[in-house]
């Protein structure tokens, strides 16, 4: 296999904030690889390190087996298409594109030939003499791409190049980028937060979150077999539910048992279950029916209808189907074993480490929680806090610790929230209350909800 870029154990922090942690990744020659993730996940930082605008704290980036560290951006054989085009306003279209070639002292007639060729490639042939300020966003984007590829880089880096365009233009440019990639045979590394764009364009997708790689795979793999609830939630629509793996090929969720195709989780193990909304089928036959539900809402979405239903066991599901079912009607539903994606739970409770302060108090995450531990003051303890034992309060003063709602996952009958404390620690909470991302909350622990305290090394 021909790896053009290899990234090994790469880490980067800005101040105290870890932006990328232990990134390992290789990129094959000629492939279209997309770095996908929400804003702040570190994808642009990773791209900027490949381009050479940032230096890694740890780890290395190899290009064709050669270490890139220490090579300044202008000597790296790759070019970048920037987010907001970054064309040179004082130069016209021709001079913008010729900029790199002139620096390399390419003969004038060759420059002219190559500029003409790329202008044709991006369908902007008659625009040579135009001022870049007079071009539309889409046209500027084409010139930015032309300016990069005219240098015939080995790798082309694209930093959310279509983010500033309107929807229609974006779709057109996606198709063109894909064709350009095929025609040029250059390796593309593409950064985006738009999962649909990633699925459309890529050969390989790397899903990033919180500075870590969540999953690497083809678009089909990532869509059909997300490895965790974050990826499932981020890529496409999905129903994510708590379940229990009863044994191989048998899983329980929503109070029902289902056949599935997953094995090797063990018996009676808590898992996350993902079912895509288009994979829940309606039936009229009693023998096929796995569960029933009441239709709560039904919205036409162009090609399909999107329905929310309440199941007989009180879970909410999203279903997409070509047929509409009337609101308030009771429907029979089933799911194919193939379409049930079972994932190992990343965690089943919050595991925290702290010290006993006195009989009534334990210090955790830098705050004093009223918990009876039964250990002497000063003992270092491990505290296991179930998701439902964390209480979130509107009024910050009522909590022992302050935090912010960082990520929300709907699990059919409750919300699974990720809370980031002021000190940057994470807590996971199950709740029926509705919070919004970014809400500030007071945090309290409910002692009688199964919090387990043990000696740290015990």
């Amino acid at each position: 296999m021909d790896k053009i870029i290899e990234i090994k154990n790469l880490s980067k922090s800005f101040g105290d904030k870890k932006v990328l942690e232990d990134i390992n990744l290789y990129i094959r020659r000629g492939e279209f690889l997309t770095l996908l993730g929400p804003s702040g996940c570190g994808k642009t930082t990773l791209l900027r390190m490949i381009a050479g605008f940032l230096q890694p704290d740890e780890g290395s980036i190899l290009m064709e087996g050669k270490e890139l560290a220490g090579i300044p951006p202008h000597e790296r054989p790759l070019n970048t298409v920037f987010q907001r085009y970054a064309l040179f306003p004082h130069l016209d279209v021709y001079d913008n594109i010729a900029f790199g070639l002139k620096l390399k002292k390419v003969p004038e007639d060759e420059i002219e030939k190559r500029v003409r060729r790329v202008l044709k490639l991006v369908a902007m042939s008659d625009y040579e003499d135009r001022d870049v300020d007079t071009l539309s966003g889409g046209q500027q984007q084409r010139i930015a791409i032309a300016r990069a590829i005219v240098n015939q880089p080995k790798v082309l880096l694209l930093d959310e190049p279509l983010a500033a365009l309107d929807l229609k233009m974006r779709k057109d440019m996606q198709t063109e980028l894909k064709e350009m990639h095929k025609k040029l045979g250059i390796t593309f590394i593409y950064v985006t937060h738009d999962q649909e764009e990633a699925l459309t364009l890529s050969d390989t997708i790397v899903v990033l979150n919180e500075g870590r790689i969540q999953q690497i795979g083809t678009p089909v793999d990532i869509y059909n077999e997300p490895v965790n609830s974050f990826v499932a939630d981020f890529i496409g629509e999905s129903n994510i539910l708590n379940g229990t793996m009863i044994r191989d090929r048998r899983v329980a969720f929503m109070g029902h048992e289902f056949d599935c195709v997953d094995e090797g989780f063990g018996e009676d193990v808590p898992v996350d279950v993902v079912v895509r909304p288009e994979d829940i089928y309606f039936t009229t036959e009693e023998s096929k029916t796995q569960f029933t539900a009441k239709v709560k809402s039904c919205t036409f979405k162009g090609v399909h209808y999107e329905m929310f239903v309440d199941t007989d066991t009180g879970n909410e599901l999203m279903i997409q189907d070509y047929d509409a079912y009337p609101v308030d009607s009771t429907v029979r539903l089933y799911i194919d074993p193939d379409d049930i994606q079972v994932m190992k739970k990343e965690r089943t409770c919050n595991t925290l480490y702290g010290t006993v302060k006195d009989e009534e108090t334990v210090t955790l995450l830098g705050a004093d929680f009223p918990l009876k531990s039964g250990f002497e003051a000063g003992t270092e303890v491990k505290v296991e806090v179930p998701f439902e034992a964390v209480d979130l309060l509107d009024n910050l003063d009522d909590g022992v610790l302050d935090g912010e709602v960082h990520f929300i996952l709907y699990k059919g009958d409750h919300y699974h929230l990720t809370i980031k404390t002021d000190a940057g620690d994470f807590l996971w909470v199950d709740t029926n209350d509705i919070w919004d991302k970014g809400d500030l909350v007071g945090i309290r622990l409910i002692a009688d909800k199964g919090i387990k305290i043990s000696r740290k090394d015990g």
């Binding site: 381009a51 970054a86 790199g100 240098n151």
Partner: protein
């Protein structure tokens, strides 16, 4: 009625503001030695001024030369220093940026007389003999902040990626500076230069304290000395008129440039 008074107020204000200038301009076209008495139209004073045949002190022309020379040198150096400083300030973050911008603004608010006296004391303390060099150094000191202020907005408007784009396309950092950054900042630098030039041109207090005792005169110190000797040299009248015209033209140019740049930005 209210509108009439509002108009009237405006005109009275403008007349009061410009009356002295008009007064000098009008009396530059008569030969009288004493300002205020009209002895018939004549361009004699202009001719005297331009040929250098003064009735009074011939060092007036030397003072004009000094003024322009000092202003040009000071403006050039402050443009260079101010641009580099602006780039540095622009790349700072958060608190540091605020602190440095604040430090940049203080010399502009600081009364000239204090700047002048403190520079005088500094030069004495450092045993630097005062003359051309000290005046130019002093002028650079108070002009630079104005250049910083005219270049900073250009940096803020600039796409932050264009410097990196130049590097990415194979430019060395210094090539990126000259081929991309400087052309982008040029309008701000030109405005800064003109501003610095005019600031230097009309400075009195700072020059007075830093010119030393070698008999260096700029226009402002010349007039001051002249007035103290009793009576202004008549040729000052045409000279003032000409300077006023030059400044007026410079100001009009700055304003037109700003209008044009604004329109350009709106089109982006």
């Amino acid at each position: 009625m209210g509108k009439f008074f509002a108009r009237l107020y405006l005109w009275v204000l403008l007349i009061l503001l410009y009356a002295p200038l008009v007064f000098i301009a009008v009396f530059s076209f008569t030969e009288s030695k004493v300002l205020g008495s009209w002895e018939g139209f004549s361009t004699h004073l202009y001719r005297n001024l331009l040929t250098g045949q003064m009735q009074g002190n011939a060092s007036l022309l030397a003072a004009v030369e000094n003024t322009v020379l000092i202003a040009l040198v000071a403006a050039a150096f402050s443009t260079l220093l101010g641009t580099v400083a602006a780039i540095g300030i622009h790349n700072l973050k958060g608190r540091k940026k605020k602190a440095v911008s604040f430090l940049n603004n203080i010399p502009m608010i600081n009364p000239d007389i204090i700047t002048g006296v403190s520079l005088f004391l500094l030069f004495v303390f450092l045993h630097i003999s005062q003359g051309y060099v000290t005046v130019i150094l002093a002028h650079i000191t108070f002009c630079t902040p104005y250049v910083v202020l005219s270049v900073l907005p250009k940096l803020q408007q600039m796409n932050p990626n264009i410097y990196e784009a130049a590097l990415d396309l194979g430019a060395t950092p210094s090539q990126a500076l000259w081929k991309v950054l400087v052309p982008e900042l040029r309008p701000g630098m030109v405005s800064g230069f003109i501003l610095a030039f005019t600031m230097s041109l009309d400075d009195f207090a700072v020059t007075f304290f830093t010119r030393g005792t070698i008999g260096l005169d700029t226009l402002s110190t010349y007039i001051y000395t002249d007035a103290r000797k009793g009576g202004l040299t008549p040729e000052l009248r045409p000279l003032m008129t000409l300077i006023f015209l030059v400044i007026l033209i410079l100001l009009v140019i700055i304003n037109l440039r700003q209008d044009r740049l604004q329109k350009q930005n709106e089109n982006r």
